[in-house]
Amino acid sequence: MTALLQVEGLVTEYSGREGRLRAVDGVDFSLARGEVLGLVGESGSGKSVTGLSIMGLVDAPGRVAGGSVKFDGRELVGLAEEDLRRLRGKRIAMIFQDPMMTLNPVLSIETQMLETVLAHDAVPRAEARRRAIEALGLVGIASPEERLRQYPHQFSGGMRQRVVIAIALLHRPDVIIADEPTTALDVTVQGQILYEMQRLVRETGAALLWITHDLAVVAGLADRVAVMYAGRIVEQGSAAEVLDAPLHPYTRGLLDSVPAANAAGGRLRQIPGMTPSLAHLPPGCAFRERCGHADGACSSVPEITLRAARQVRCHHPL
């Protein structure tokens, strides 16, 4: 299986008052055609910035400081803005967390969909409209022709996210980067959107990078899982293996924090301490201050070690 998207040693830095902070610090992963990769981590772990870095959408004061992102054999880091623009929305699409904020409130759905078609393909408006209606139908929006004329505030949260997904699918992209697209939705709606996404990637053959903090979502959706902590991937492997038998203490901690894994009425288990601020990362393994297995060896940054098809970045894997 050749990798469609190959990320190697990706480093994204933000310069600010506290000096240069590495939000993403040497991230490696690859995504094959039609594959679903779950990128899991807490807030501030750098998972969203990873997604933006791939798209070339990191805003100042941030910048991609190193590493490589290869898409279909083509290097994206350092690519000219116009060339990147042609890929964005056409071959790599992105979906954001809050559908209330993602759509422009003062433009009609029609405007927002048609401009996406016309930005990449020189087709007549009627043809663009036809494609927009088809995409809305695809994501399960009833009477798409009528809905097309409406504005975002006339849609519910779940419906808006469907519109966003429809926009992402307009050009049948090879890769969809979904940045917590179900987090802002009701649980019942979450289920529907997840189901739809699963169906759509299977139908269109798109590869999916699903960024989330929700392990339950990943368990049902992803083929493989990468767990991020403080800008680094600490564990990576097939979803079944990583979730059933985690190698990294942090992954273990995350799994234990899921309420369903605890006995009813019992005290919820949690990872002690808090996600460290990037400005005050402990030297060595970033997780060692919250880790029950930490010892002297952990004051150096652990290398990635391979165990069959799995990777783990820990001196004392479980």
Binding site: L52, G89, F96, N104, P105, T116, A119
Partner: protein
């Protein structure tokens, strides 16, 4: 929508009534116009004759009653000084003030929005910092001083533009307009620039603040993620969102440009309403002052109504809530 407009116009009548009562009462207390209008050497009989001719010998309430009665038929009284209907005197001067205000607004929008956009999109560049520093000057320098400076530089030293008065006018739809010819426009440039400076600074700062705020929102990022060209992301997605707060301020400012062009009109001897009303206040020409204020209040209300209607064009969310209410 028509019901909404009618309701707003009914409110206007009430505001006009209250304004007229306040101004009428205030001017009555300030002094007796007869003292100013007649020759100081005139005898008592002469004074009484003048007062009777102007209707000033009657009790204040009766005078106001007569004014109201006239006002309902569109007659706001005769100017004590000019001896002609006050409204006519004001309307004659109005095109001069309106064209000045229009030109000033055009300048501040035409320069302010692009400069504000630039400063907002490249906030840390040298040019952006210069623009922002300049806007602080525009805010804080007094209008009259800037006016004098403009005259000194462009009229006296460089000799490019005339410093006082209004140029030749041409008739357009029955109005005397001067800015349609280059010769007339030359006269209007300096006063308009003077009047525009404060608004320009305001619009630059407001636009920049809006750009900075809106650029961080997800819809901007999504617009880029869709692969839209930068021109469209900024020119459509961003601009349409920042126009909404801008319109509010522009509406308010347009009213104040028209109403308070007094200082600029005085410095540049521009024959507009502002200069007229200052003269009229000095001469206690009550009908003109009252009529001027009524016209101004009416204009303010009209502009605000237009702004509200414009809102509903720009913002689909307003459109809906209005249909319900």
């Amino acid at each position: 929508m028509p019901v909404y407009v009618l309701r707003r116009l009914a409110q206007t009548l009430l505001v006009l009534f209250v304004t007229s009562a306040l101004v009428f009462g205030g001017l009555y207390l300030v002094g007796d116009p007869v003292e100013i209008l007649v020759n100081p050497q005139a005898d008592q009989e002469e004074r009484a004759r003048t007062a009777a001719a102007l209707g000033l010998d009657r009790p204040a309430l009766e005078q106001y009653g007569i004014f109201l009665k006239g006002a309902f038929t569109g007659d706001l009284g005769k100017s004590f000084v000019f001896g002609r209907p006050a409204l006519q005197v004001i309307l004659e001067r109005m095109p001069a003030t309106l064209e000045l205000a229009f030109l000033a607004m055009l300048m501040s929008l035409g320069l302010g929005i692009p400069l504000g956009l630039y400063a907002g999109l490249r906030p840390h560049g040298f040019a952006a910092r210069t623009i922002m520093a300049g806007s602080i000057l525009g805010f804080s320098l007094p209008t009259f001083w800037v006016g004098l400076l403009l005259i000194m530089v462009f009229a006296v030293q460089l000799g490019w533009l005339p410093s006082t008065g209004r140029g030749p006018t041409t008739e357009l739809l029955g109005l005397q307009i001067s800015i349609l010819t280059w010769e007339g426009l030359r006269y209007a440039l300096l006063p308009a620039l003077n009047l525009a400076l404060f608004k320009l600074s305001l619009i630059i700062r407001l636009t920049r603040a809006q750009v900075r705020e809106q650029s961080l929102l997800d819809y901007m990022r999504f617009a880029r993620a869709k692969g839209l060209p930068r021109r469209r992301v900024i020119g459509v997605h961003l601009l349409k969102n920042i126009l909404i707060p801008l319109i509010t301020v522009i509406g308010l400012e347009l009213g104040s440009v028209i109403a308070f062009a007094v200082v600029t009109e005085t410095i540049f001897a521009w024959p507009g309403m502002g200069k007229l009303v200052i003269d009229s206040i000095f001469q206690l020409d009550r009908p003109v002052v009252v009529a001027y204020l009524l016209v101004t209040v009416f204009m303010f209300i009209l502009i605000n109504l237009l702004v509200d209607l414009l809102y509903s064009l720009l913002d689909p969310r307003v459109r809906i809530s209005e249909a319900k209410g």
